[in-house]
Symmetry: C2
Subunit: 361 residues, 2 copies
């Protein structure tokens, strides 16, 4: 039997998330910012970071007092090109949106700007904030640490988050360049999905509690850990491990937030840290020349000779843009079971999930 | 029969490189800077980027008019926190050293600074410049593009350089954190070495001319390409590919230099671009707190439980620091054959390699 798929309009979903968070005490403006980020993930096909977390992560943690519904954003240190902001254990999406807005504004004058955020929470997809810089034709960079899930090379215990790197770059081509990648091989959600369907995972994605690579998703989830990008030492997995440390340093340590095993605790404030950076292209060379060269590079990569059996070379972000375009027309697809869970959580909070699907299949 | 190993003092090697480059028309100060960078590579055990290239790359290209012995460093665009410098097709080591010096100086006032360099050449090890920032207790970042050797995911032709990422971070621990990694799995030198010894390479390092992963080093070198970090699509090799593109964008395109297949040509000026960034830690939080947290993170990683059969977890740069300490005492080791080649090249240039080894084995 095929699982039921329901499709919803992104605008409707945003309104629902707003109402849900507002009911939990999140001010309407902040709820709106958060809704935009969460639904953007679903729109782009990154459902692991979308409204599936609305109750299981954000709702639950606000109710349990682990996330503050208010996000004060207090500048702790500030210069014309840098800032450290304290998010007061508020919503990561709110803190990150505001921090990136500030970074974009600062970079207009200083030409390069860095803003770090301390005492924050999970901020959704890293790429959302990097992409904010595209509106001003700037280069945007967004990093965050997260709860420990990844083992260092030759280790066997989760010591680092899947610490993502997101970079958005304007281009004269149809699409900008938007990289948004975890520094682990896969996010934990991929392993969970395999466990649910009973399928083995490819060897390399993760290790068991002894630190041995395994095909068994349950062994990775129960006392094991994810592998850093690169995987085994022979394929230079230490580079993924080191990149995860760099992200932890810039997001967690530079901001004065949690880091390593002290970031992203389940049962206390997460103390997540973020790092944002914006580069004003015009300070380095004329913007139109830069965008033209970007389009050339992207064209050359796309049109490069393909490996035998392959038909297409992808550019960073291309799949996500295509998915978003499709979902904007057809509606964003969700499994019936996910909608049922949302509805149940919504009822408990007094905000039943009453949206009408635009399609059911 | 065991190959002969000769060891030389790093100071002696630096003096020799200075004389060699000076003879080719490189001003003494510039020759000194270049010697420091090249010998630092040998000292740290990264012999592929050391004086083995003195004749085969730098000497040959200066003689053939492909590298200018003078390195003018002309500011093309400049603000208080950013600059684009033109290296006038001079020596990469000179341009990069001067650019990073400038970046460090600027960041003292602006707290974050970015300097890009266009029309440069191979600059040796990326980590050297990142580490320059450590002297001022700043975070240093160094990126460069390079000649095409890496294929994009699903491609089969070299379109991107091994485009390294280097990040140096001060710490209250004995050693700083120093990442210096190519965004390919291995540098081309590793494959060449396997070809010479007739050993197959691990599956994943590179592909043949059809784009199929191969164990045969000759097939990778003859019309094939290196794999990006991550390797196959199932292990998310597109992340290494995308990181290589990010490095190309920031080094090649932002600086207005060559990029993609137009960087690093063998038979014409290489038009290599570099990117340097410096962060003043004190603008984000007190430096001593930052360094203390760095030491904590590094300690925690080092002391994390080991995978079965493993005894040690490494930190970025640790192996290289240990190697340098050993080589400073014992002398830097070279194969007899390499010294023979150096001597022959030196004689041709009128600068015979007349150094006395401190040990021969």
């Amino acid at each position: 039997m095929k699982a039921q798929i329901l499709r919803f309009r992104s605008e409707d979903l945003e309104r629902y998330v707003e109402r849900f968070l507002n009911k939990l005490g999140v001010p309407l403006d902040d709820a709106r910012l958060s809704a935009k980020v969460l639904v953007a993930a679903d729109l782009r096909g990154v459902s692991s970071h979308g409204i599936i977390r609305l109750q299981t992560y954000y709702g639950r943690r606000i109710r349990d007092g682990l996330i503050d519904p208010l996000t004060p954003i207090i500048p702790v240190y500030e210069t014309s090109a840098t800032a450290t902001l304290d998010a007061g254990n508020g919503l990561g999406m709110v803190a990150a949106s505001r921090a990136m807005e500030r970074c974009i504004r600062m970079a207009k004058n200083s030409n390069v700007a860095v803003v770090t955020v301390r005492n924050s929470n999970h901020y959704g997809i890293a790429g959302y904030y990097a992409m904010m810089a595209l509106q001003e034709s700037q280069i945007g960079i967004s990093l965050t640490n997260a709860q420990p899930l990844v083992a260092p090379t030759y280790g066997r215990t989760a010591m680092l988050g899947t610490n993502p790197i997101a970079v958005a770059v304007p281009s004269a081509s149809v699409l900008p360049f938007v990289l948004d990648m975890a520094t682990s091989i896969v996010p934990i959600g991929k392993v969970t999905l395999h466990e649910k369907t009973g399928e083995p995972v490819p060897l390399g994605w993760g290790m068991d509690a002894r630190g041995t690579l395994t095909n068994d998703p349950a062994a990775i989830l129960k006392g094991g850990a994810l592998s850093p990008l690169g995987g085994s030492d022979i394929l230079r997995g230490y580079k993924g491990y080191d990149l995860a440390v760099v992200v932890d340093i810039l997001s967690g340590i530079l901001s004065g937030s949690g880091f390593g095993v002290s970031a992203g605790a389940n049962d206390q404030p997460a103390r997540i840290g973020h790092f944002f950076m914006v580069i004003n292209i015009g300070a380095f060379r004329p913007l139109d020349e830069f965008k033209r060269d970007m389009a050339t590079l992207m064209d050359e990569l796309k049109n490069a000779p393909k490996a035998e059996g392959q038909e297409r070379i992808y550019l960073a972000g291309e799949k996500e843009f295509e998915m978003a375009a499709e979902n904007r027309i057809k509606g964003i697809p969700f499994l019936g079971a996910v909608i049922k869970e949302l509805d149940q959580a919504g009822r408990e909070m007094g905000v039943p999930f009453d949206l009408k699907p635009v399609a059911v299949s």
